[in-house]
């Protein structure tokens, strides 16, 4: 098994708000970023790189919506779960689109990408949005 990851170096953080305190960056990376990436990877079966994007997006959402009065850890997990599921949902939709319009199947395409029930469901999700 692999050894411990190297801590972030001061050079890597040069010119950033955390450059004066790389330990703080490293701490956040270990305590929040990596566990959330693992959750998105293993719980929601995302590729690690996709999981990283999802977690970064969750942090952006946090800046806009995180209510300090609520449990922030639970809130972050909830948002990562939500974004992961959304990511998968979009991936499935994209796969269906590609499959429909790929040259081999182009002539046999069904009238819609999704069944009526699936479409209603997807529209419901899009319309509803996410309320954290």
């Amino acid at each position: 098994m692999r050894g411990k990851r190297e801590a972030f170096t001061a050079e890597a953080l040069a010119g950033t708000p955390l450059s004066s305190d790389p330990a703080r960056f490293d701490e956040f990376y270990r305590r929040y970023f990596l566990p959330l990436v693992r959750r998105a990877t293993w719980k929601h079966r995302l590729e690690k790189e996709d999981a990283r994007d999802v977690v970064q997006e969750a942090f952006l959402v946090a800046l806009m919506k995180l209510d300090p009065q609520r449990n922030p850890k639970a809130w972050l997990i909830q948002v990562v779960d939500h974004l992961s599921v959304n990511f998968q949902r979009k991936a499935v939709r994209r796969a269906k689109l590609v499959s429909k319009w790929s040259p081999a199947d182009a002539g046999m395409a069904s009238p819609g990408l999704l069944s009526e029930e699936e479409r209603a469901y997807e529209e419901g999700i899009d319309a509803h949005g996410v309320d954290y």
């Binding site: 305590r31 566990p35 922030p72 850890k73």
Partner: protein, 498 residues
Amino acid sequence: MRTESTISAPGGDLLDVISDWIAVGRRKNLPVGGDVSEALAAANELRRRVRAAEPVELDFQYQEVAADTLHAVCRLLSDECLELPRSVLEDARSIQGLLEDCLWSEDYLEERESLLLSLAFVAWRAARLLGFSCEAQHWESEYKKMFRRSLLWSVAENVWASAGWLNPPANHMLSRDPEAIFQVLLYLQDHGEANPQAVSESATRIYRSLQMDRLRLPNDLHSFFLGESARLTGSVLRMVGNPALVEEWADLAEEHFGSDSNPRPSLARVAFLRLTLLYEKSQWDLVPKAARALDSSFSDLGMEEDRVKCRILWAASLKLVGRFREALEVLEPLRRSKGGIRPGLYGWVLLQSGDLHQLCGEYSRALEEFAEADRLLREGKQFTGLADVNSMLSCVYRSHGMLSEALQLLKSSCEEHAQLGMKSLEASNRMLIAETYLAMGRPREAESEIRAALPVLEEQSMVADAVAAVNILREAIRQQKAGPKAISDIRERLRSKN
């Protein structure tokens, strides 16, 4: 060991760090830990070593690697569960033990607990597939205990507070993860006493989604979750007083559990639901015999929490047929095993015990028990029980002639029951309020309370209560020296309904 430091929840400080993090992280290709396929290989190697009783090289000092390996173990066990339940159960047991013994430092997001939960879930599922009822119950009970004190419980609370599980995105999330459905059902089950109306809506929604096959699940879990969501819906509908619908949901639950891989524990729970229905229909004399048999089944199956609930119902029924001492004896084993019972549930034990003691004239003991019950029920968010505390406490005040104090408590209980949508208990409270008004020489107010209660008594087919209500009304009218026509009108209306 690293000192506790700069980044701490709650959120203000955390938000500052996130803000800085985004500024850095967007420009950096951040490493994301080990590769998934490597972790899966390491997981298989770990399982082999555990089975062969070889020393395990899982270094929790570098928990980034260990965490990936353990997540991979959970995925493998989950994927293999249906085909190889025996080996999955054995591995889950061993690796649970291994993880429980390890020290996991700086686990800010409780990843270790999340892994322990997943291992308990897979062990529960494998035990069910093998028909090991007692072991399945053991894992279910372990899961509940861990889940209730975990961060994931707060996640469930957050989801509930934001939108419940009624909206499509939340519903979609459940479609991917059987453990998430398991957690939601456990949360709803515990939350039923806090908000029965909303829980019944969520449970119904989950049932419908399962029924429409929207939540795609393995066969062994599909029938179980269908049955469990139906049983949960029935349980909470009972609280808000809809006996006909409860019967329908109990039938549905029974039907789904009938085709389940491990039906005995679930069917015992449906039998308990039916027993609570007998209680609601005032058929208290029928409950004790059936409760005794069910208590024995729960005991055989290792379903301790269900056993506690059964004994509470058993004692409450004995109380209502005037067998107070027997009722106290039924509660006695629960009092002895207080430490092993969830505090919120133990609050219910004390509530019944307090009421029995006040009925036996042991008022100081009753007051002590009510005070403790109040605390435990409040902390456990058992609001339906909390509404009962005031109502029962009022009886102590009434026994001591403190009618104004009793009246205040009853009114507060009545409001609480109304807010929770518990119509039958609201109506029962109104009858007690009317009786208290009569004792205070205020017949007009008594009449008004009874008139408010009667439609509910009719709707809920509460015959015995309706007869008592008519008698209270008769007395109220007699005290007002009014004519008997009002009573005969109401009596006729009730007769035609029942």
